[in-house]
């Protein structure tokens, strides 16, 4: 139920982002991409004092970060480049880095996040903390050398990390989907597999992987097969069929989520653009700098 609510919120924010910033939005992979990120985030130990697990993603919906506890206004501020955004409008970011709630911002650099998350997991290991770093990626990223170096590092150092590989959206130059698990095993990782259609199953399997990683089994790869239908719709149908939920309740969830996101957008929309003088302070000067106050006069 909570899962449905979170998928619904993520979908509502996703739809809003698509409408408002469209192509220029932080990369997102269409409606199906809220799973597996949302159930994966749910499988983590979440905290708001910097003591929980850490989540990031390279593909999929940034709105999945809501599950980690980020305020939807913060995601919108980033996307709209508002003064109040954590990056002050300097970077769209998808969602911001906020390590108190275990969030590391995505970047448009395939592979790099694998290395960085491996380093975060390394810090858990070095400090003896019982925490896990989880990254959602897809097969396209696996072509990059950084992906390989990051995973190889994680493997050699046996760090508590989980890589969730989403097969929802394949590119023509992607390696065959079935190679992911083979590769995982070839690196000596734990490997897990689940159909992406059922978000509850995804959550369960990711949870197993997370707890394996936490208990010292090293890097775990979860292979999420492309869903055969929209996982959110699937879950709704399933809950309805099981009489676990009424049509009204479903509509209620959706409306509440839409209303929340609309309100967030209204608020953020009214917020001011960043002030260059503030947002770019300390980042040098533009133009000829003739007018800029020099520490000493420009002529003898």
């Amino acid at each position: 139920m909570e899962l449905l609510r979170e998928l619904q919120r993520a979908r509502a924010l996703e739809d809003l982002l698509t409408r408002v910033v469209g192509d220029r939005a932080p990369r997102h992979g269409g409606p199906r991409r809220i799973s597996p990120a949302v159930p994966a985030a749910r499988a983590l130990h979440r905290a708001d004092d910097g003591s929980g697990d850490v989540f990031s993603l390279r593909v999929g919906s940034p709105s999945a970060a809501l599950t980690m506890g980020v305020d939807p206004r913060v995601v919108l501020r980033q996307a709209l480049g508002r003064a109040s955004a954590p990056s002050m409008g300097r970077d769209p970011g998808g969602f911001p880095t906020d390590l108190r709630i275990g969030l590391l911002a995505p970047v448009e650099l395939p592979g790099t996040l694998v290395e960085v998350m491996a380093g975060i997991a390394l810090s858990f290991r070095l400090r003896g903390e019982s925490r896990v770093a989880l990254l959602v990626d897809d097969m396209a990223g696996s072509a990059s050398g950084d992906w390989h170096e990051g995973l190889n590092f994680a493997a050699v150092r046996e760090v508590p990390m989980v890589l969730v590989v989403d097969h929802a959206h394949r590119g023509p130059m992607d390696a065959p989907a079935e190679q992911m698990l083979q590769r995982a095993r070839a690196y000596g990782f734990g490997s897990h597999q689940v159909d992406g259609t059922d978000p509850r199953a995804v959550e369960r399997v990711v949870w197993n992987a997370v707890e394996s990683a936490r208990s010292g089994a090293g890097l775990q790869v979860v292979d999420v097969a492309a869903p055969s239908t929209d996982p959110l719709q699937w879950l709704v149908q399933n809950l309805l069929a099981a009489d676990a939920l009424s049509e009204d309740a479903v509509a209620g969830f959706r409306e509440a989520a839409d209303a929340e996101m609309r309100a967030a957008l209204d608020e953020v929309d009214a917020e001011p653009d960043p002030d260059p003088g503030q947002a770019l302070a300390g980042w040098g000067r533009r133009g000829s700098a003739i007018g800029a106050p020099a520490p000493t006069p420009i002529t003898p």
Binding site: R24, G81, R82, S87, G89, R90, D91, P92, V107, E108, L109, P110, G111, A140, G141, A143, S144, G145, D146, P172, M173, D174, A175, D273, P274, P276, A279, L280, W283, G284, R285, R286, G287, S288, I290, G291
Partner: protein, 341 residues
């Protein structure tokens, strides 16, 4: 060969003016027709036709052995291009955005740039792709990459500002026996005012030669890429409003730098302003300043100044990006200061 040519390579054949982007597409097309060793590789350049559609229709026309989609692995396919170049092929690599050349930095600077020097053979290859800001693309889709490579002996860097030059320089780059990095400013790709009618016959613009984009007497402005047009705007304004005459030098090739052309102009005007969209510290202006000091100091009647972007990653928000990028106003102000110096 193709029965029906893709639209973006037809214009010159039909005696119609072309955009900057079409000029590039024509250069690729004609070089591929001319030389069977030329082939293209890059992300989504085949069926999809490239992020900016430069190569739309090329796969259908030239087939999968001449137009190769690649995995997202810029180091890997740039290295593979080097291997193909060792065997006498002439690969033209597209970076989807030039920002993504970074993963290929190692193979470009250490392997490709040094091959001829190491006695391992010339590597005729071109790396081309879109650069530059102004599109609200944020830090990873807006970079200028010249200064990442300007310091590397063995590489050439080209950065055209007009459709004519883009076509002629790209052809020259493809025919060159050494590796060339070719930067295409996104703000020029479809700019209507850059449409021009190009010669029907084959032509090249030689690498390593600057051009005088505007003659003038008071201040030399050395610039390149999109900033050529910003500077020409400033020049027109200064002429009209202040009677100040700017000479605008469009470098076209950044490496090797056409030192003689710059020095000759500065010796006439006695003043030098360098304008680049790229960030300030460690930008190209520095090298120009050194060359002019070495060869034209006595002719200088004022300090060498520069107009550049700020020292930051390219910001995402529109107001910030506008505050970050150099403007016509900046050029006007600096040139006026120098003219009156």
């Amino acid at each position: 060969m193709a029965e029906t040519l893709p639209e973006q390579v037809l214009h010159t054949r039909n005696r119609e003016p072309v955009t900057f982007l079409e000029a590039i597409a024509e250069a690729l097309w004609e070089e591929m027709e001319r030389d069977p060793d030329v082939f293209l590789l890059g992300e989504d350049i085949g069926e999809y036709g490239g992020a900016f559609k430069v190569t739309r229709g090329f796969l259908e026309a030239f087939g999968g052995n001449r137009v190769l989609d690649t995995p997202i692995a810029e180091g890997g396919f740039t290295g593979a291009a080097a291997g193909a170049a060792h065997m006498g092929l002439r690969p033209v690599v597209e970076m989807q955005f030039m920002d993504f050349i970074s993963p290929a930095y190692d193979v470009l600077t250490n392997y490709i740039a040094t091959s001829a020097y190491r006695g391992a053979g010339n590597l005729p290859l071109v790396i081309r792709g879109p650069v530059g800001g102004g599109n609200r693309g944020g830090p990873f889709h807006s970079q200028n990459v010249e200064m990442a490579f300007f310091h590397t002996p063995g590489l050439k860097i080209v950065y055209p500002s007009t459709a004519y030059d883009a076509k002629g320089l790209l052809k020259a780059a493809i025919r060159d026996d050494h590796p060339v990095i070719f930067e295409e400013h996104k703000g020029l790709y479809r700019a209507p005012h850059l449409r021009e009618l190009l010669p029907e016959e084959d032509y090249v613009v030689p690498l390593g030669k600057a051009r005088t984009a505007r003659e003038g007497t008071d201040v030399t402005v050395v610039t390149y890429g999109l900033m050529v047009h910003r500077t020409l705007e400033a020049a027109a304004r200064l002429q009209e409003e202040e009677g100040i005459s700017l000479e605008v030098v469009d470098l076209r090739t950044l490496l090797p730098l056409d030192e003689d052309h710059i020095v000759e102009s500065v010796r006439r005007t006695g003043k030098l302003l360098v304008v680049h969209e790229d960030t300030r510290t460690g930008g190209l202006a520095g090298e120009v300043a050194m060359r002019v000091n070495e060869r034209a100091f006595e002719w200088l009647d004022g300090p060498i100044l520069r107009v550049t972007a700020m020292d930051a990653p390219v910001p995402y928000a529109g107001v910030l990006e506008d505050a970050f990028l150099p403007s016509v106003e900046d050029v006007v102000e600096a040139a006026k200061y120098l003219a009156r110096y």
